[in-house]
């Protein structure tokens, strides 16, 4: 049975609607940030992200004339506890930062990534979405790797599809 990455739950080409719920949303144009707070739940299809506060940092002029498309999101920060659930995958940590520029996700603070019986714990989960690699690191600055996720060259005999 093909296990999928916890982050596999929110695919870009799924056309299922995305729902974001929260107790409050503050849009602070001066800081160019929109903050969802209080029981924040983001869902799409079978995937779900839960956190206490989700801050969206964007760029682009704050004038009425700036067409919406000229604005883009720079960075997303979820803190106060983050849970990402997709199918039987689950990733949890204190904070989750998704940086659009570097196309990476970093989860820190008591990170656990689990799928069925398999659980891996560490201090930091680093997911590089361009290279499709992710790794869990433990130990303050030693960054010693506890569990390394390596792209497998596909099942023997089957040509790697990319």
């Amino acid at each position: 049975q093909q296990a999928t990455n916890a982050f596999d739950g929110f695919s870009s080409n799924s056309d299922e609607p995305v729902n974001i719920e929260a107790d409050r949303l503050d849009v602070r144009d001066k800081d160019q940030a929109a903050v969802f707070t209080g029981n924040v739940v983001v869902t799409q299809g079978e995937s779900r992200l839960e956190t206490k506060a989700l801050t969206v940092f964007y760029t682009g002029g704050a004038t009425a004339d700036a067409p919406a498309s000229s604005r883009s999101i720079r960075r997303l920060e979820a803190d106060g506890g983050v849970v990402v659930i997709s199918k039987d995958q689950k990733a949890t940590g204190n904070t989750g930062v998704f940086d659009m520029a570097s196309n990476t996700i970093v989860m820190t603070g008591g990170v656990t990534v689990s799928q069925g019986p398999n659980v891996i714990r560490g201090d930091r989960l680093f997911v590089d979405l361009t290279k499709q690699t992710s790794r869990i690191e433990t130990g303050g600055n030693t960054g010693r790797v506890r569990g390394l996720f390596l792209p497998n060259k596909g099942t023997p005999g089957a040509p790697p599809r990319n």
Partner: protein, 222 residues
């Protein structure tokens, strides 16, 4: 779907084949990328709402009304029109089907079928409507108390039961459910408040935002 094997501390036997990343970007990225245009549209929308607040900061608007009649102490103006420019030199126009003013209290004006239209960049425009309005020139407040809506040609549409506009403080509050629709989705909340002339927009109470991915890609280009 390629398969990721996990080498755990390098020992082959406790290799865990636990995770595999989809070939395409991870789904979390996709979700956030989908959410982006929707939210961006919302941010522009918020600003549209507040560009009307700039009205207070311009010179003296041109006020003309086609006909007016006085009965007792009430002046009734039919189809009054107010035009002027806001602080960004954007022309705007405020019309009403009827406006009533009491001579004894000229600062207060009752408005029916109020509609304010604001010119934006290029051929953009935004429109604020309310079937009933109550303007207090002294307090610089405008109470819109029935079927309030704000629309723009960028596909944004917000509706509220009522809204209190404090022109002086640049604040709009609506303590009743607010619904905002934009071409890529919609947002609902129990209450909304806009402060500092639009620098801060607060939605509170069961905030629910829905974004249709299929629509964002098409619209993303505009």
């Amino acid at each position: 779907m390629n398969d990721l094997a996990i080498a755990f501390d390098g020992h082959a036997e406790n290799r865990l084949t636990a995770f595999s990343a989809a070939r395409r970007h991870s789904r979390l990225v996709g979700l956030l990328r989908v959410g982006v245009p929707g939210l961006a549209l919302l941010l522009t929308a918020g600003f549209l709402l507040t560009s009307f607040l700039d009205i207070r900061s311009l010179g003296d608007p041109v006020f003309d009304q086609s006909t007016s009649a006085i009965s007792g102490s009430t002046i009734t103006m039919v189809e009054p029109r107010l035009t002027g420019y806001n602080s960004q030199r954007r022309p705007y126009e405020v019309i009403a089907s009827r406006a009533e003013q009491d001579i004894a209290a000229p600062q207060k004006i009752d408005l029916d079928q109020l509609a304010a239209r604001m010119q934006l960049e290029g051929d953009g425009w935004a429109r604020l409507e309310s079937s009933r309005g109550f303007f207090d020139n002294e307090g610089q407040t405008l109470r819109l108390n029935k079927d309030v809506s704000v629309t723009s040609n960028t596909g944004y549409h917000a509706t509220m039961n009522s809204a209190d506009v404090d022109l002086e403080a640049g604040r709009v509050t609506s303590n009743e459910p607010v619904a905002v629709t934009f071409d890529a989705g919609d947002l609902k909340a129990d209450r909304m408040e806009i402060r500092d002339g639009g620098d801060l927009i607060i939605f509170q109470g069961r905030v629910r935002m829905k974004i249709e991915p299929s629509k964002t890609s098409a619209k993303g280009a505009t």
